[in-house]
C-alpha cells in the first residue's frame, strides 16, 4: 500500500503551482463572473503546456500522461478556483474522437480542441430526459449524404462560446431506446442552431440549444449509426481520467476559515473561537480527506488501466452531499452578514460563501444525480437486484 505521489508527480505539482501563480490572474478569475467557468486565454495556456493532450490516453495518440499527474493538475486547479469546465469537455471529446471517430473528425476537430483553439460542449440532456439520457428525442434523419437534425437540448453549458457540440440524437425510434441513438459533432455555426441562455440561481450561465432542420454531412457522425450508446460509454470511461479530483470543499474550507476569523462574536471573540465552528471546519477537513481517498484510488486504478471502479461513483456521491452540508454550515455561522452576495460591499470573504451555497445543489444533480449514483452503487457494487 502506497499513497505517495511519484517524484515526477510532485515535481509536476510544483510546475502546476507556478503556472497558476503566473496565469491565474485576478482578471482570469474575474472573467468567470459572467457565469461561464471558462477563460479562453487560460485554457490556451494550459493547452500550450500540453496538459489537454496529456489527459488523452497514449494508445489513442494522446499525451497519455500518468493519471496520477493529471489528478495533481486537477487538484491544484480546483484548489485555486481556476476555470476548467472547458478542459474537461475538451479532453473527453478528443479522446472519444480518437477512439471512435473517422479521419475527418480526427483531422478537423481534435487538433484545435487539444490545441486550446476550439471549444466543445456536451449536448446530451433534453428537457424531458435528464437522468434518463437514453430517452433523447432530438431526431437525426438521413437525407443522402447528409443528416437533418431537429430537436432541443438543455444544459449545453458553454455552447454560446463554443465551436462544437457533441450531440446525442435519435436515429431509430423503433428499437429499445438505447439502441437507436447516434452521436454527431456539430459545428455550432451550422445554420438552424439557436442558442438561448439559461440562468441559474448560482452564478453559472448555461444554455438551451435548438436545432431546426440543421443539415450536416455524414462525416460529422461519430461511431456507428444507432451506435450512440457505445460512444456514451466511451465518454464516461474517459471522464474518470480527469474527473478524479472533485474538491469544491477545499476552496470552501479556506474561505470559511478566513470568514470565521473575521466574523465578530460576543466578548471580542470571532467565529473561529467558537467550538462549534471549529468542529465544523474539522469535519469538513475530514470529509475532504475521505474525498481524497476516493480520488486517489480512482486515479490509481486509471493508472493501472482499470477504468471502472465504484470509487468514482462514491467520490461523486460523497463529495456532492458533503459539499452541500458544508456550504450550509459555513454560510450559517456568519449570521446576517453571511447573506451578502458576491461583490456586495462588506460581504464576508467577498461573498464567496454565498456563491458556494448557491452552487452546491447542482453538484448532486449534474453528471448523474445522487439518486442515480446510489442506484448504481446498490446494483453494480452491492449486487442488489433491480426492483
Amino acid at each position: 500500500m502506497d499513497f505517495s505521489f511519484t517524484p515526477e508527480a510532485e515535481a509536476f505539482r510544483v510546475e502546476v503551482k507556478a503556472f497558476i501563480a503566473e496565469h491565474l490572474t485576478p482578471d482570469v478569475l474575474e472573467s468567470t463572473r459572467e457565469g461561464t467557468i471558462h477563460n479562453q486565454g487560460f485554457h490556451k495556456k494550459m493547452a500550450e503546456r500540453g496538459w489537454l493532450n496529456g489527459a488523452v490516453p497514449a494508445e489513442l495518440g494522446g499525451g497519455g500522461r500518468d493519471p496520477l499527474e493529471m489528478l495533481v493538475l486537477v487538484e491544484e486547479l480546483q484548489l485555486a478556483g481556476a476555470p476548467i469546465d472547458g478542459m474537461g469537455v475538451a479532453v473527453i471529446v478528443a479522446a472519444i474522437v480518437l477512439e471512435l471517430g473517422n479521419d475527418h473528425l480526427k483531422e478537423t476537430v481534435v487538433p484545435p480542441i487539444i490545441g486550446g483553439d476550439a471549444l466543445c460542449s456536451f449536448g446530451y440532456t433534453e428537457p424531458d430526459s435528464g437522468s434518463d439520457v437514453a430517452a433523447a428525442t432530438t431526431v437525426a434523419v438521413q437525407d443522402g449524404d447528409e443528416w437533418v437534425i431537429n430537436g432541443q437540448k438543455m444544459w449545453t453549458t458553454m455552447a454560446h462560446i463554443a465551436d462544437y457540440v457533441l450531440l446525442l440524437t435519435r436515429t431509430n425510434p423503433d428499437v429499445p431506446k438505447h439502441k437507436g441513438l447516434t452521436f454527431f459533432i456539430v459545428p455550432l455555426d451550422t445554420p438552424g442552431i439557436e442558442i438561448q441562455p439559461v440562468h441559474t440561481m448560482g452564478t453559472e450561465r448555461s444554455n438551451a440549444t435548438f436545432y431546426d432542420n440543421v443539415r450536416i454531412g455524414d462525416e460529422w457522425r461519430i461511431g456507428d449509426v444507432d451506435g450512440g450508446w457505445a460512444v456514451m460509454k466511451a465518454g464516461l470511461k474517459f471522464e474518470r481520467g480527469i474527473a478524479g479530483g472533485q474538491f469544491p470543499s477545499a476552496m470552501l474550507i479556506d474561505a470559511a476559515i478566513a470568514a470565521a476569523e473575521a466574523a465578530p462574536r460576543a466578548d471580542d471573540a470571532t467565529a473561529i473561537d467558537d467550538p462549534r465552528v471549529r468542529e465544523q471546519i474539522v469535519r469538513a477537513m475530514i470529509d475532504l480527506e475521505v474525498a481524497r481517498g476516493f480520488a486517489y484510488k480512482t486515479a490509481f486504478l486509471a493508472s493501472q488501466g482499470v477504468m471502472f471502479g465504484v470509487e468514482g461513483s462514491m467520490l461523486k456521491l460523497f463529495v456532492a452531499e458533503a459539499y452541500k452540508k458544508h456550504t450550509q454550515w459555513f454560510l450559517e455561522m456568519l449570521g446576517s452578514e453571511g447573506l451578502l452576495s458576491l461583490d456586495t460591499p462588506g460581504a464576508p470573504v467577498g461573498g464567496h460563501l454565498d456563491e458556494h451555497f448557491r452552487h452546491a445543489p447542482v453538484t448532486s444533480i449534474y453528471g448523474g444525480t445522487s439518486e442515480i449514483t446510489r442506484n448504481l452503487i446498490a446494483g453494480a457494487h452491492l449486487g442488489l437486484p433491480r426492483s
Binding site: R276, L342, I365, S370, E371
Partner: protein
C-alpha cells in the same frame, strides 16, 4: 386544547389566503428581487388592515393577537411576498407597549411609515431586517431601548434571500431613549422569532408542494418519478419536518399570546426547527427537480434561498443554541 383554526380564524385565514395568492405570484417576487420590497403591494396589504392589525386598539390598531397576525404571515411565507410585515408588526407592538403616546405611532398604524427592529444588541453598524426601507428603527443598547427615525437608505445590499437588507448606522439616526424595561425587548425578539418560524413554515409547505407536484408530472425511465420510493421517502421526511415545525410555531405563538412560562424559549426553538425544516423541504424539492431546480426560471430556487436566508437575519444558530442551553439546562425546564 383546540389545535385547529376556529371558525373566525378560518374566515380571516381565507381572506389572507385570497389576498396573497391573488396579489403575489412568483412574478411579483421576481420583480422585487433587487429591492426586496413591493411598495404597491404593501399599500394594498395596508388597506386590508393587516399592517396594523396586531397593534393594540388603544393606539388605533386592530387589537388582534399574534395568532391572528400569524395567519397573514403564514401566507406571506407561502408566497414569499416581499413585505416587511413581521418587522413592522413587531416593532409597532413594541413601541405601543413602551410609549403608547409616541408621535410616530400614527404613521406606523397607517402603514405610511415602516418600522423595524435591530436584532443584535450593542451593534450600531448592523444589518437590519428591512433596513433598506424602514423609516423607524428600534434597538437595544445596554439596558436601554432606543428608537430612531429617518434616513432609510433605499439602496439594498445584494443578498441571498432578495431581502430589503441594509446596514443602518444607528448612532446617526435621530434618536431617543424609550422608557421601559429592557426585557420588553426580549419579548419583541421572541415575537419576531415566532413569526419568522411561521413564515418559514409557510415557505416550507409551499416548497414541499412544488416538489410533490413536480414529481407527479415528470417521467424518467418511463416512470413517473413520484413513484420512486427514495423520492417518496425524502418527501415524507420533509413533510414530517414541516408539519412538526408548524405545530411548534403555532404553540410558540400561542405561548406568547397567553403568556406561558416558556413564552421566551419556545419561539427560539420554533425558529431553529422551522429554519431546518424549511431548508430541508426546499432542498429536497429542488433536488427532485433535477437540473431545473437550479434554473432561475423555476420557483423552487426562490424558496431554497429564502429558507436559508430569512432566519440568518437573526444571527448564527450556534450562539442561540447556547443561549437556550443557559436558559433551559440550568432551570431543568423541559
Amino acid at each position: 386544547m383546540f389545535i385547529r383554526l376556529t371558525d373566525d380564524e378560518e374566515a380571516i385565514d381565507e381572506v389572507f389566503s385570497n389576498f396573497f395568492t391573488s396579489e403575489c405570484g412568483p412574478e411579483t417576487v421576481r420583480e422585487a428581487a433587487s429591492t426586496g420590497f413591493d411598495r404597491a403591494l404593501w399599500d394594498r396589504l395596508g388597506q386590508t388592515g393587516a399592517a396594523a392589525m396586531s397593534a393594540p386598539e388603544s393606539v388605533g390598531g386592530g387589537g388582534a393577537d399574534l395568532g391572528t397576525l400569524a395567519l397573514a404571515v403564514g401566507h406571506l411565507g407561502r408566497t414569499l411576498a416581499p413585505l416587511p410585515l413581521i418587522e413592522h408588526a413587531v416593532a409597532t407592538r413594541l413601541l405601543a407597549r413602551l410609549a403608547p403616546d409616541h408621535a410616530l405611532l400614527a404613521s406606523l398604524i397607517e402603514g405610511t411609515a415602516i418600522a423595524t427592529l435591530a436584532l443584535q444588541s450593542d451593534n450600531p453598524q448592523q444589518l437590519v431586517p428591512a433596513g433598506a426601507i424602514a423609516d423607524v428603527v428600534l434597538w437595544r443598547t445596554g439596558d436601554e431601548i432606543r428608537i430612531g427615525s429617518g434616513g432609510a437608505p433605499g439602496e439594498v445590499l445584494n443578498n441571498l434571500a432578495d431581502l430589503p437588507l441594509n446596514r443602518r448606522n444607528l448612532d446617526e439616526l435621530c434618536t431617543e431613549t424609550l422608557s421601559g424595561d429592557s426585557e420588553t425587548f426580549d419579548l419583541a425578539i421572541a415575537e419576531w422569532q415566532a413569526l419568522m418560524a411561521t413564515a418559514l413554515v409557510g415557505s416550507g409547505f409551499a416548497a414541499l408542494k412544488l416538489g410533490v407536484d413536480y414529481v407527479q408530472e415528470r417521467y424518467q425511465f418511463d416512470k413517473l418519478i413520484g413513484t420512486f420510493q427514495s423520492l417518496q421517502h425524502g418527501l415524507a421526511d420533509a413533510s414530517t419536518g414541516v408539519e412538526g415545525a408548524d405545530l411548534l410555531a403555532k404553540r410558540a405563538i400561542w405561548a406568547l399570546d397567553t403568556d406561558q412560562p416558556n413564552a421566551l424559549t419556545l419561539p427560539s426553538m420554533a425558529m431553529i426547527f422551522a429554519a431546518e425544516s424549511a431548508l430541508s423541504s426546499a432542498a429536497t424539492s429542488l433536488q427532485y427537480h433535477g437540473g431545473y431546480g437550479f434554473a432561475e426560471e423555476y420557483d423552487i430556487q426562490l424558496y431554497y434561498r429564502r429558507a436559508k436566508g430569512w432566519p440568518m437575519q437573526y444571527g448564527p444558530v450556534g450562539p442561540e443554541l447556547q443561549r437556550l442551553a443557559d436558559l433551559l439546562i440550568t432551570t431543568g425546564a423541559h
